[in-house]
Amino acid sequence: MFEIEIDGKTLSVPPGSTVMEAANRLGIYVPHFCYHRKLSIAANCRMCLVEVEKAPKPLPACATPVANGMKVKTHSDAAASAQKAVMEFLLINHPLDCPICDQGGECQLQDLSVGYGGVESRYGEDKRVVPNKNLGSLISTDMTRCIHCTRCVRFGQEIAGVMELGMAGRGEHSEIMPFVSKTVDSELSGNVIDLCPVGALTSKPFRYSARGWELSNRRSVSPHCSLGSNLTVQVKNGKVMRVLPLDNEEINECWLSDKDRFSYEGLNSSDRLEKPMIKQGGEWREVEWTVALDYVARGLKDIARSHGAQGIGALASPHSTLEELHLLQKLARGLGSENIDFRLRRSDFRAFPKAPWLGMKIADLSILDRVLVIGSMLNQDQPLIANRMRQSAKKGVEVNVVNPTSDNFRIKLANQAVVPVAEMAAALEAILAGLSGKGKGEAKAIAQSLKSGKNVGIFLGNIAEQHQDASRLHRLASQIAEKCEGKLGFLGEAANSVGGHLVKAVPASNGLNAREMIEDPRKGYLLWNCEPELDMMNPAAALAAMDKAEMVVAFSPFRHRAHEYADVLLPISPFTETSGTFVNTEGRVQSFKGAVAPRGESRPGWKVLRVLGNLLELEGFDYEDTESVMQEIGIAGYAQCDNSIDAEPDALPAAGGLQRIGHAPIYFADGLARRSESLQATRLSAAPAAFMNAKLLKKLGIEEGNPVLVKQGEGEARLNAALDDRLADDCVFVASGHPQTSALGALFGAISVERL
């Protein structure tokens, strides 16, 4: 350990620490712009110059390693004069347009200029003007304000894993810019807005809508991916204006995915359902809650009476709160129906773990030395888990992948087995064989990699979970994990993918699962926070089932296609307007409170279910608040989860022909993201196309851009053919979660493509 004295305070720090780190530990603030604890050291802003005893000139605290016995002064005359000189240089070409700058009031340059800037400028020449850049629909630019700290550049290279911004030009003419006519498209791009210490990069959706000091901060938890990112929801006049990350080193660190950050636009969209509605005589009319709920209660009782309670099925989105899922299953079971499920995109129910989870804490991903990811669009599905693996890979951790695409997630992969979607189980068998010393090729290389590790993690991604052969993939993955004494984990699809199991929002053996409820249509459906044609495994079949039903009750924050097939539309609150709980993929139970009052007549879901329970005269629906629901659920802290699988699912018959990969792209995956205009305007939200590799295009005699007819069973869609050479042979990527493909069948399964 080295002894260091900063401003008269002493501290022992490990060798290799910087003066900045030591100062931070002592609680001494050294002014800075380019330094960021998660990024590499650039030492270019020079704002953190400090006086170091025996050094002939001031040194940058961020880049100066601590030496034993070093004495540092951060606020001495010499240090302050160096810092003030730097501030003067930073300000000479800065427009000082704070009154019209969106960063005003939350600007590092503005704040520090109060302490280190002059009253008047000695610079009387013309200031630099820099043209703005089009970075896409999320990030607004005012490049004249840029102070060239390069945080945004380093973020792209180091965290997002793709260099989308760089500093071109020299000297005073240097500019931060994207590649020519390119935008910034990574799914983590919005973080550069937080990183930018000035108003050069600001939020496009938030722009000119409020000042930082007008906003109240509310803690919340993201309702999207399984990570459960912690959020600061900023509100003004009862409206959510902006979402920022809430630092949580164990979960999202200081980052947020763009989906978590910008989906709030959907909360304020014109699509919000604001009044309960009933369809009578083919006409929708707005009614009071009491009327609507009465109607629902009577309808449910009627179905139960005439068809038996098993005629009722409840389908809930895994993005619902734990309380909602609990009350919904309790209500369904109270009615006498075991037909309840929230695993909407799953197709293989032959065997199922009791509560699939990551198998470890998120933060413990960093102690793995070997990783195998099976069937995942990692960047899109769990963008911040992808980041953790990216950082691990840089430190030498071997990340291996089995996938129907060679997308490398912008991670330096050790090995990658790119196999047709129908051959994924075979690929895992080959790895198993490799672990016993047999096998060849990529499978053997992956096996060798895993075998050489001390801390091995095997992870099943969304594709593996939604795969037709999911149970067998699970079984094989668990065998692989066992063989290399590693841990098995599910990356998890949604905010409550773990929680739904914990509250048993899944059928017991005498009930129907999500797939069966569609294949064997029910008379009545309770749709909780989901849009079957976009959120389910087989959109075409789901729609058909809805059409046939006698009564469909859609509980939803949004208007959606249910107006075609539903009988009742009940406006429930999205996550910002209700208290609730999500259990993230590591089993962490995270409760949050509402940030704003429910919009219009919409009501928190748990309240709606409570009242409906009362109207149905079910027992135990007397909750006062979500805390009392949570007491009944009885989990807190970290939930007990379980990935084990007992069954030995048989191999599926070999699937020939073309196979669909019907993954839901990041901003199509849930109702809220689908209603964020800015997210929908990104490149990641491009309209679905039929993506194939060059070999398959050639085989089918189709050229890129040709209009094609894509068919699955009865369902068909007219799309354009597109080239994606990363795809495995005989795979056709056709996105789900989009109206253009909602007439198609199963997300994973046979598909045909013909030229129009």
Binding site: A43, N44, R46, K57, A85, V86, E125, G171, S174
Partner: protein, 421 residues
């Protein structure tokens, strides 16, 4: 007067055969024949008091001894031929007229530091020189001086040349490394120094062209002999690129310690009988000295440092009494303004500001407070930047204003030039 770099050159005898006639590669052969150890080679260098000829004057032997000895993995040797300092044109001549001496020097250096691969980074404006150097490399490879098992020994060394693109900043050694790596040429923060984290993150030694070219003579004749050529702590000969108002501008190789008056005489004296007004003794980024001071100086690192400037790259810029010092500084400041890489704040913002203030003084719009402003700005730039370009931009401004303040003041007061009036 003994010459070791330009000796016997007639402008056409650059090829291998010519070089062999001038005792070429004899040092390399001797080194192998005498079974000199790497330590012995470095010792000779230390004895010679050879100092880096690129500008900083750092003792070469000492620099070589910083390279980790038992490092497993690649180490690199890099020659800095990115000669961009205004006034300097010596490396170009070495590369063009005596390329094999550089190659031989680099091979010896590689042997001394256990390096297997090297690069010669040649700046973008001298494409002919680059092409010739490529030819010389081919000759050396064909003759077994370069490549695997050099001269039948088990020592191998691969040398490549790399064409720069003409950015001044790429002459800064870490920016040069970035440039070789294919990145934007921007200096790195030091530490770590190249000896521990250099090209591709591997231990790397970078020397100037003239430095490497001096090495064969030292090995052939011994370090002490080289030292004796010059002065204590200032061993050997040095090429001075004399430019400006002399009768015969050009490269002159003289022993370090040669009186400036003698160098001036060799260059034919002042043009047309004019008077020496000022001289920048070491390239445009070194402080300017007045003619009077200059005439009493000897041309070696220590003497010039004592007078308040630096020997630098040895570019001697001679200015007679017809020169307007404000205009001269305006030109220099524009250069640094344009060549700042823009990475760190004081240099990016400061060089433009310096230029604009000097420019307005030159154009009759100077203000009374401008001279103090300039000096204060140089205080705020010098020593505050990642690399020495900030210092390089500040030093001329400081020295011009300090040494010729009256002339600047005259410009401000009278809105026109003292010299031309």
């Amino acid at each position: 007067m003994e010459q070791i770099l330009l000796k016997g050159l007639d402008g056409g005898n650059w090829r291998l055969a010519d070089y062999l006639k001038r005792d070429g590669y004899a040092a390399l052969k001797k080194m192998f024949a005498d079974k000199m150890t790497p330590e012995q080679v470095i010792d000779e260098l230390k004895k010679s008091a050879l100092r880096g000829r690129g500008g900083a004057g750092f003792p070469t032997g000492l620099k070589w001894s910083f390279m980790p000895k038992n490092y497993e993995g690649d180490k690199y040797l890099v020659c800095n031929s990115d000669e961009g300092e205004p006034g300097t044109f010596k490396d170009r001549d070495i590369l063009y007229h005596n390329p094999h001496q550089l190659i031989e020097g680099m091979i010896i250096a590689a042997y001394a530091m256990g390096i297997k691969a090297g690069y010669n980074y040649i700046h973008g404006e001298i494409f002919e020189v680059y092409e010739r150097f490529e030819e010389a490399l081919e000759e050396a490879r064909a003759a077994g001086f370069l490549g695997d098992n050099i001269l039948g020994t088990d020592f191998s060394f691969q040398l490549h040349s790399h064409m720069g693109y003409g950015a001044y900043i790429c002459g800064e050694e870490t920016a040069l490394l970035e440039s070789i790596e294919g990145k934007k040429g921007q200096p790195r923060f030091k530490p770590p120094f190249p000896a521990s984290f250099g090209l591709y993150g591997k231990p790397t030694t970078i020397n100037n062209t003239e430095t490497f070219a001096s090495v064969p003579w030292i090995i052939l004749n011994g370090g002490e002999k080289y030292l004796e050529l010059g002065r204590p702590n200032n061993g050997g000969t040095k090429i001075f690129s004399v430019s400006g108002h002399v009768e015969r501008p050009g490269n002159y190789e003289v022993p370090l310690g040669t009186p400036f008056a003698k160098l001036l005489e060799m260059a034919g004296g002042m043009r047309g009988g004019h008077k020496l007004k000022a001289c920048i003794p070491g390239g445009s980024s070194m402080p300017v000295l007045t003619g009077d001071v200059m005439m009493d100086l000897d041309m070696d690192y220590d003497s010039i440092a004592k007078a308040g400037s630096y020997l630098g790259s040895g570019a001697v810029i001679i200015m007679d009494e017809t020169v307007c010092m404000v205009k001269a500084l305006q030109r220099l400041s524009y250069f640094y303004y344009e060549e700042s890489c823009g990475q760190c704040t004081p240099c990016r913002e400061g060089t433009g500001w310096l230029y604009r203030v000097v420019d307005r003084i030159e154009n009759g719009m100077g203000r009374n407070e401008d001279l103090d402003l300039l000096l204060n700005m140089t205080d705020n730039i010098q020593g505050r930047t990642i690399c020495a370009l900030g210092d390089a931009a500040a030093m001329p401004v400081r020295s011009f204003v300090r040494n010729f303040r009256d002339e600047f003041q005259y410009h401000i007061d009278h809105k026109h030039c003292l010299v031309s009036s």
